[in-house]
């Protein structure tokens, strides 16, 4: 009861925060600004230390209205902070470097805005580790607001994203990241889409007016907490989608969220998975395992509060995948506050209602296969299909504070000797063998010429000149960094076969 009170209090504060956000930032628009940072219970200075992103060690590059953010990224080196001032920027920004921070500067309530004018695909693409994106308004793109591919240690926070196409915030294949205090609306698939990631916290976001609010897909170790998901088609989802290279989705905690009135008509693209979600879906667990749902307030979702299913639900028509296990197993339903769900369910659910002689749809419905699941105090809810659910041993998830790692994922390239070796075999060996002639001279000949003179090789290969009539001119290897050229030169000089 105490917990429920606390939750209500949090929700009340949240609502006030939203209201104030509207009041202070939203003039001329009905879209609220991000929740102020003081709202976050964890907003301590340095709270992203375990991630590494946002640790500025280099220079600050200012981008003012009328200039290009991408140009600044081009000039930036790892550790730099790019500060974007109010103005409207029509561009796609891509970050293929490590440790770059993009920070919007909000002046008198005026936001720096990336506007794709419905012509551009994505606002921000990143592949580097340690990327931070904050305080930006992003709107009118066709693909994504912010999309990462294999970038680890990411921080995406305080962004205000309105109709950016398919996804709003989409870290893909990333390990160790946080998505917090963003507000997203008008997205035709998932507003926040955690795809094939590990170790992610999604917290204090507001998602509304999207097809899917928050989707955890084929990801592991995800904590979804203190989010406000309302007026979407579906509020919070955890999926294992077949046919992807990552074949599991497990260890997801969904707690302390407010999942309210997700009754918006589905406007997903034909063929997309979410286009099959019935409106009125509070939470949907599909084929994912080891999901804990705790302390959420789930009310007013007209189809069902929480739906737990395999692929055989809601007309999802994916080709099957022999390597993807289709059932939702080991679902743990702890204390949740649920009311007023199931007022207008879809036909499939109505059919089940008939057999139950129920006039209302369910707070919780489980269909399809699955094993090892449990529920605490199911008598509090209207439930369908939970007969096989045991009484849970676990009572809370208090021991889990975060799924972020204690320290950042290590940089991708470390050992210099390995770099020399990998470069020699990966690049040079196409033309140079140790003692036989391929295209260029044998390595033992080079060794005789450059004994104790690795720097000579470093300089020559960056800008080769034609030295010998009996060999073709070497193409420049200036695409290798000086450090890499040094490593490979030293490695070549050390070869014995």
């Amino acid at each position: 009861m105490k917990i429920a009170k606390r939750i209500l209090l949090v929700v009340a504060i949240f609502a006030i925060g939203i209201y104030c956000g509207k009041l202070f930032f939203g003039r001329g628009s009905d879209i609220p600004a991000p929740v102020p940072t003081y709202f976050s219970q964890s907003a301590q200075p340095g709270d992203s230390v375990g991630i590494g992103a946002g640790t500025v060690t280099g220079k600050i590059i200012d981008v003012k209205n009328g200039s290009s953010i991408q140009e600044a990224v081009g000039k930036a080196s790892p550790g730099d902070l790019i500060r974007i001032y109010p103005g409207v920027y029509h561009e796609t920004v891509y970050i293929d470097k490590d440790n770059i921070s993009l920070q919007g500067v909000i002046v008198n309530g005026e936001w720096p805005t990336l506007d794709g004018e419905k012509k551009q695909n994505d606002a921000i693409l990143y592949s580097g580790n340690g990327v931070l994106v904050e305080n930006l308004k992003i709107t009118n793109y066709k693909g994504n607001g912010i999309m990462g591919q294999a970038g680890n240690n990411y921080v995406i926070r305080n962004n205000w994203i309105v109709d950016t196409g398919v996804y709003g915030i989409f870290p893909q294949f990333g390990k160790n990241g946080v998505v917090e205090r963003n507000i997203l609306s008008g997205i035709e698939d998932a507003a926040i889409y955690i795809g094939m990631c590990d170790n992610v916290d999604v917290r204090f976001n507001e998602v509304y007016g999207n097809v899917a609010g928050i989707e955890i897909e084929n990801s592991r170790h995800a904590l979804v907490e203190y989010n406000y998901a309302h007026d979407n088609t579906g509020g919070i989802l955890a999926f294992l989608t077949p046919g992807l290279p990552i074949k599991t989705c497990y260890d997801v905690i969904i707690r302390n969220n407010y999942v309210y009135n997700n009754n918006t008509k589905n406007f997903g693209a034909v063929g997309s998975t979410v286009s099959h979600i019935p409106k009125g879906t509070g939470m949907l667990i599909m084929a994912a395992d080891d999901i804990t749902i705790e302390n959420n307030i789930v009310t007013g979702n007209d189809n069902a509060g929480i739906t737990i299913t395999d692929y055989g639900y809601a007309g999802v028509d994916h080709a099957s995948d022999p390597e993807s296990e289709p059932n939702s197993d080991r679902i743990t339903l702890l204390d949740n506050f649920m009311s007023n769900n199931g007022a207008d369910p879809v036909a499939d659910v109505k059919a089940i209602m008939m057999t139950k002689l129920s006039k209302l749809g369910p707070d919780i419905i489980a269909v399809g296969g699955g094993q090892g699941s449990c529920v605490v105090n199911p008598g509090r809810y209207r439930t369908f299909g939970l007969d096989a659910y045991a009484n849970c041993q676990a009572r809370d998830t208090r021991s889990v504070k975060t799924y972020l790692l204690d320290k950042p994922v290590a940089p991708r390239v470390t050992a210099t000797i390995e770099k020399g070796k990998m470069t020699y075999y990966g690049v040079c060996s196409g033309c140079h063998a140790y003692s036989t002639r391929l295209v260029g001279p044998p390595v033992n000949t080079i060794q005789a010429l450059y004994k104790n003179n690795a720097q000579g090789i470093v300089d020559f290969i960056a800008n080769p000149v034609h030295k010998r009539d009996d060999y073709p001119e070497m193409p420049p290897q200036n695409y290798l960094t000086e450090e890499t050229r040094k490593a490979v030169a030293e490695y070549m000089l050390s070869l014995t076969k």
């Binding site: 695909n121 994505d122 294999a150 390990k175 063929g271 991708r412 075999y425 196409g430 036989t436 073709p472």
Partner: protein, 404 residues
Amino acid sequence: MRALFFLAVIGAAAAVAVALRSTPAANSITLCNTCPPGFELTDNNLCKLRSLYQLYESGQGNEPGVGGLKTALPNVRDGFTPQQIDLGRYLFFDPVLSNDGTVSCATCHQPDKGFSDGLKTSVGLHNTTLKRAAPSLWNVAFYKKFFWDARATSLEEQMTGPLYSPDEMGTTREQLLKTLNAIESYRDLFQQAFPSRTSGAIALDEIYTAITAFESSLISLNSRYDQYAHGYHEALRKEEIEGLNIFRSFVARCAECHTPPLFTNQQVAVIGLASPEGAAFDAGAQETFHDASLRGAFKVPSLRNIDRTAPYTHAGRFNSLREMIAFYSAGRGHEVPPTEKLHIHWHIWEPKLTDYEMDRLVDFVKTLTDESFMPRAPESLPSGIAIDKNKNQKTLSSLSPNTP
């Protein structure tokens, strides 16, 4: 300047092709004792792959092979001896492996055509037109499934398909063993490649191992795209970077299935292609997995050296990259015959790419060309079959570079 540089790289590749292994006369062949480019020779006489992408394994962040730029490679099939690889090269190019001595592996997997054959669908024994196109062999060392319909799980298993199919190479296990064991030169070469064997006779496993060893040495990871990925952003022109961004955007979604670094996620997918005119609908992976939801599913092909392997798709439906890309932009299921109910992949939608965007995508995928580790066809074959009997090998040697 860029063009000159590129020419230099092509020239270098061609020169490698010739200089890589010198081949003495057929009856006194000594197998190569060094590894092909890209491989380090270990103290145990094994060739181990070395690539800049292996540096990214140290980060332990992401699963290998699923996307991003600085991303690790999936597990590789390596660790063969130089001699096994070299023996595999002879076998690969030797038509003696077929029923009537007219078809070699290289007939359909021609080095200068990206190890494909330039045909809509391949042509086998007695000019039999086959059902599907020959897939490229670049980077097969990383693959877990083979054939368009993913029905084989190893290269060894894969090659038994064409070898023993009556329409392709048309031999039998008995005939293959009999033929090779009757050739003194091959008996000698197999002894070199498998020195610890107990029997003097050539065994099927040894044939499969040697061809697998050679095929696994075909590595292409040094394109201009790779230079970009490793951090040299000047490697790509502005238009090509625009193409990369379209490629990985969620509008075009190319990178969702053609995931770097191999540019395939190695899954099967239903993209909803119609059959070529007059052909029955190809069920693809439905037959492999006995699963109707996989009707019309095919393996996602790599885009490495894609500029060399037109025409495209499992049935050679499109002659150019531009046409192939236009298919993806033309709408989900627009080619599906009315009689078919297909479970089309969710990434197939209607991105409505502009002509400009499609042109940039072509620009980008052409940066995935790298043939710097091109192996060289043998000058003569242990079987004594004239090398010029195979038009494909002739094509390759006409690449002849600037050596005397």
